[in-house]
Subunit: 120 residues, 2 copies
């Protein structure tokens, strides 16, 4: 399955999905799928957060709390899940505030390998 098809499938399985993407830590998306009208700049949000992730990863290493796996950020209007895929890539899911965060997390976790395979 192509990466685009995979991301599209993931976005369709979660209520309230705004965007699903696979991205490098350089903030350049490998591919992304957008759905609905979030009312804020999803792209800019993720690029900004990518910088923050790097900082959190550095902290986790310094403290010795084991490799980072996932970050969830909840605001009044949205939820966003960032999942580390490997040392180069992370996947992100952006949802409306009442979206199904549990399912989005599950899909990011279970599709991690498939996303990598779709790049080969």
């Amino acid at each position: 399955m192509s990466l685009r098809a995979l991301l599209t499938g993931m976005s369709q399985q979660v209520e309230g999905a705004y965007a699903v993407m696979l991205m490098g830590y350089d903030c350049i998306a490998i591919d992304e799928v957008h759905v609905g009208t979030p009312g804020f700049d999803v792209q800019m949000m993720i690029v900004e957060y990518a910088t923050v992730i790097k900082e959190i990863q550095r902290t986790v290493e310094v403290v010795g709390a084991g490799d980072m796996e996932e970050i969830t950020i909840t605001t009044k209007q949205s939820s966003m899940i960032l999942r580390v895929i490997n040392e180069d890539l992370f996947a992100a899911f952006v949802l409306s505030r009442d979206g199904n965060v549990g399912k989005a997390r599950y899909l990011l976790r279970t599709n991690a390998l498939a996303m990598l395979q779709a790049l080969e």
Copy 2:
């Protein structure tokens, strides 16, 4: 109820709890309760993350995604939940990787007001 008693009660209600604290964005704890032996420096972890929260809050404002409410960070060894209480304070819960994150989130949310009242 005193803040110390409140935090102690919260820590006792969650399996796998390592620490519960109320903290300013200047990284100085108002009060904190530690439990068990995490195997990493919880204090240092939270201080480092407090810096990151400020950055995420700035991002959320710039993007217009509504006020920040909560951040959850999961590593191979731990989970950590940071909840915004007001413009000066946040509360943090640090757990083992197999701790009950759902209950910790619930307690942070439902005790937000009580933590503020304990300061008066």
